[in-house]
C-alpha cells in the first residue's frame, strides 16, 4: 500500500482543493512540477501534467538520449510475463491496455507518427531445447490466462514465411504490440511543449537545486544518486539493421525466442528498420563488444535468415534502470516532502510509460494524502519497499 500519507506535497492546495490548478498557480514556486529526466517516462509525465494545466519544467542535459534511445519498443506484457513476477505482469498488462488510446491521443497532440504496430508477437524456438524453454514459459503465461496460443510449425511459417525452416515451433501473442521509442520521445517532447511544458537543458546535481512545488525524479539510473534508491545500471547491447533497397523488412510480427540457447528479439518497423536485441549485463559501461554483436546476429540470422543481407546500421549499448525485484519505483519518496519518483523501469520503460504518467499525474493532482483512493497498481511500485536498501541520497 501507498504509505505516503505523512508526506505533504509542498505546492499549496494540492490534493485538498478541487481547483488545485488555480491554487498551485498562486504558489511561491517557479514551476508547479519539475521533472528530472527527459526520457519517455519523464516527458510523458510532463505532457500529462501540462495538459492538466500545471506549469511544468523538464530538466535533462540531452533529452531522449538515455534508455529510451536504445530501447526496442516492444509492448509485450504477455511474452515478458515471468515466473514469480505476477504483480509486475499485472502492471504491464494494465499499461499495455492503455497503449492504443495513449498512442492515438499522443499522435493527435503531436502530429508525430509513433510507428505503433499491432501485428502481434511470435515466440519461437530454433532447436528442441529452445522450443522446450519457450514452451515452458508460454505454458506459464497461458496458466495466468494471458493471450498466447501455440502454433504448428506450418502455421508459424504461414504467418511469417521469413522464419527459418529449422525453427521447431512457436506461439503467437496477438496483443503484444510495438512502438518506435525514438518517435515516441519526439512525439512526447512536441506534445509536452505544445501543452506548455518548458525544457531546461542541463543536469540536475541535487534535488534542492529545483524550485518547484513537486519534483518528479524520472532520471533512470541517475535516480540512484539523487534519491539513494537501489536503482542500478543493467547494460543492454542492441543492434539496428535496415532492409535493403529502402523497402520494409520481410516480416511483420515481432519475433522473439531462443536460438541455440541465445535469447533474442527482432522488431520490424515499417520504415525498414529491424531492431535486434538485447544483452542483459550487470555492468555500467556502454561499450559495444564484438562477442555480443556476434551472438545477437547469429541468433537473429538463425531465426530469420534474410537478415544476413540487411545493412548493419547501428550497434549501441544503453543502461536500463534496474531494481532488485525488476518492478519500477513509482510514488512519493519517503522523507522528502514534495518529491515523487518514477524510475526503475528496467526492461519495461516503454510499455510502462502510459501507466506511469497517469499514476504520477494522479498522485500530483489528487495528492499522496488520498491514501484510500491510491491506485492499487501502485502497490508493487512503492519506494518504501526498498527502505532497508536506501543509501544517503
Amino acid at each position: 500500500m501507498l504509505a505516503g500519507a505523512e508526506v505533504p506535497v509542498r505546492a499549496d492546495g494540492l490534493g485538498r482543493d478541487p481547483s488545485y490548478a488555480e491554487s498551485v498557480n498562486r504558489g511561491p514556486f517557479l514551476a508547479d512540477v519539475a521533472v528530472v529526466g527527459g526520457g519517455a517516462v519523464g516527458l510523458a509525465v510532463a505532457w500529462r501534467c501540462a495538459a492538466r494545466g500545471l506549469r511544468v519544467t523538464v530538466h535533462d542535459p540531452d533529452p531522449g538520449s538515455g534508455a529510451s534511445h536504445v530501447a526496442a519498443g516492444m509492448l509485450s506484457p504477455v511474452a515478458e510475463a515471468y515466473f514469480g513476477e505476477r504483480e509486475l505482469t499485472g502492471l504491464l498488462v494494465a499499461s499495455a491496455a492503455r497503449w492504443p488510446a495513449f498512442a492515438a491521443e499522443l499522435t493527435a497532440a503531436s502530429g508525430v507518427d509513433l510507428g505503433y504496430r499491432t501485428e502481434g508477437t511470435l515466440v519461437v524456438g530454433l532447436t528442441g531445447d529452445d522450443l522446450a524453454e519457450a514452451q515452458r514459459l508460454w505454458s506459464y503465461q497461458r496458466d495466468l490466462g494471458l493471450p498466447i496460443s501455440p502454433l504448428r510449425p506450418s502455421e508459424l511459417r504461414d504467418r511469417e514465411p521469413a522464419l527459418a525452416t529449422r525453427v521447431r515451433g512457436g506461439a503467437v501473442a496477438p496483443g503484444d504490440h510495438q512502438v518506435d521509442p525514438r518517435r515516441l520521445v519526439t512525439a512526447l517532447r512536441t506534445a509536452a511543449e505544445r501543452a506548455g511544458a518548458t525544457l531546461v537543458t542541463g543536469a540536475v546535481r541535487a534535488l534542492s537545486d529545483l524550485d518547484a512545488g513537486v519534483t518528479v525524479v524520472a532520471a533512470g539510473c541517475g535516480a540512484a544518486a539523487l534519491t539513494g534508491l537501489p536503482v542500478r545500471p543493467v547494460k543492454g547491447q542492441i543492434l539496428r539493421l535496415r532492409a535493403p533497397d529502402g523497402g520494409p523488412p520481410g516480416f511483420r510480427h515481432v519475433v522473439r525466442g531462443y536460438a541455440d540457447g541465445e535469447s533474442v528479439y527482432l522488431v520490424p518497423r515499417e520504415d525498414g528498420e529491424v531492431v535486434v536485441g538485447a544483452t542483459v549485463e550487470e555492468r555500467a559501461d556502454t561499450d559495444v563488444t564484438a562477442g555480443a554483436v556476434l551472438r545477437l546476429l547469429r541468433a537473429a540470422v538463425d531465426l530469420v535468415p534474410e537478415l544476413a543481407e540487411y545493412e548493419l546500421v547501428e550497434a549501441t549499448a544503453g543502461l536500463r534502470p534496474g531494481t532488485p525485484d525488476n518492478a519500477p519505483i513509482i510514488g512519493p519518496l519517503p522523507g522528502r516532502p514534495g518529491v515523487l519518483v518514477a524510475t526503475g523501469h528496467h526492461r519495461h520503460g516503454i510499455v510502462l510509460t502510459p501507466v506511469t504518467a497517469d499514476l504520477v499525474t494522479d498522485l500530483i493532482v489528487t495528492g499522496p494524502t488520498a491514501r484510500t483512493t491510491a491506485d492499487p497498481l501502485l502497490a508493487p511500485c512503492t519506494p518504501e519497499r526498498f527502505a532497508g536498501q536506501r543509501r544517503p541520497g
Binding site: 515466473f83 514469480g84 550487470e282 536498501q389
Partner: protein, 261 residues
C-alpha cells in the same frame, strides 16, 4: 536442522552448509537473494565478468552477497585456455580480495565440458601463485587425481553438462573419484532437481555446487529449500548404511509368533 556433524572443511575453512550456489540465471536480484537465504548456503560463486566492481553501484550483486553474509568464490567462467583462466583468476583476486577461485577452463561451447589439459596446466600455475584452487573437472577419475596431486583444494566433477539438468550421468565414476582423492569432492554442474543432489551426496560427494537448477526454477525459493534438504538427506543416507538391493522381497515383519488362526 542442526549443523552438528554436517560441517565440512574446504581450503582450511569450515562450512556448515554443503550446498554451494552459483548466482547466474536468476530473474531478479530479489529472487536471487531469497533463494540464497532459503538454501542456507555459505559460499556462492560469481563470474568476474558478470560484475562491475566499480564503486558507487548501489543495489548490485555485491551488495546483495554482502548482505547475505556469504563467502565469495570467483570463477573463471568463459575461459578456454589456461593463460586466460590464470589472468582472470588474478583479476578476480584483485577485485574481490580473495585467493579462492573456482577454476573453469572450457573445452568447447556446445558441451561446456572442461578441457582437461588446459585445466591441469592452469591449476598448477594458480596453486604456485598461492590460490586456493577448486577446479571444475570432468568425471574422469584419473584427471581428478592429477588435479589433487598438483595441490587443488578440492575436485569438482561435472555430473552432466552445465545447465543441462540431466543429473549425475556416470554415478560410478563419481564414486571412483571419491575413492581416488583425499581432498573434498564437490559435484558441480548437471543437477536438475533435488533427487540429483541427494544422489551426489549418497555417492560420497562432500558437497554439491549448483546454479540453474535453483535460479531458473519456476519457484527458486522452493527449489533452494529443496536442495538444502536434499544435500542434507543425501549426506545422512550416505553414512547410514543402506540395505543391500535384493532380487526378491523380504518381509519387514517376521512370520514367527503369528497366531495360528
Amino acid at each position: 536442522m542442526s549443523h552438528e556433524g554436517s560441517a565440512f572443511e574446504l581450503g582450511g575453512v569450515t562450512f556448515g552448509s554443503r550446498l554451494i550456489l552459483g548466482t547466474g540465471g536468476a530473474a531478479s536480484l530479489h529472487a536471487l537473494e531469497q533463494a540464497i537465504r532459503a538454501s542456507g548456503t555459505e559460499l556462492v560463486t560469481l563470474a568476474l565478468r558478470r560484475v562491475d566492481t566499480a564503486p558507487g553501484m548501489g543495489g548490485g550483486l555485491l551488495d546483495l552477497l554482502d548482505r547475505c553474509g556469504v563467502r565469495l568464490l570467483p570463477n573463471t567462467a568463459g575461459c578456454y585456455t589456461a593463460g586466460e583462466a590464470v589472468k582472470v583468476a588474478h583479476l578476480a583476486r584483485e577485485a574481490f580480495g580473495t585467493d579462492w577461485v573456482k577454476l573453469e577452463v572450457i573445452g568447447d561451447e556446445r558441451t561446456l565440458l572442461p578441457d582437461g589439459v588446459e585445466l591441469l596446466r592452469a591449476a598448477e600455475t594458480l596453486v604456485a601463485d598461492g590460490f586456493t584452487v577448486l577446479p571444475y573437472t570432468s568425471d574422469d577419475p584419473i584427471l581428478a587425481r592429477r588435479l589433487a596431486d598438483v595441490g587443488c583444494a578440492a575436485v569438482m566433477p561435472a555430473g552432466a553438462p552445465i545447465g543441462s539438468g540431466l543429473g549425475v550421468n556416470n554415478p560410478h565414476h563419481i564414486r571412483l573419484i571419491r575413492q581416488s582423492v583425499d581432498v573434498p569432492v564437490i559435484l558441480d554442474a548437471g543437477i536438475g532437481t533435488a533427487s540429483d543432489a541427494a544422489l551426489a551426496m549418497e555417492l560420497g560427494c562432500d558437497a554439491v555446487l549448483l546454479a540453474s537448477a535453483v535460479t531458473r526454477a519456476a519457484d527458486p525459493v522452493a527449489m533452494a529449500s529443496a536442495m538444502r534438504y536434499a544435500v542434507e538427506a543425501g549426506r545422512l543416507a550416505a553414512g547410514a548404511g543402506r540395505i543391500p538391493r535384493r532380487f526378491h522381497a523380504l518381509a519387514s515383519t517376521p512370520d514367527e509368533g503369528r497366531p495360528a488362526l
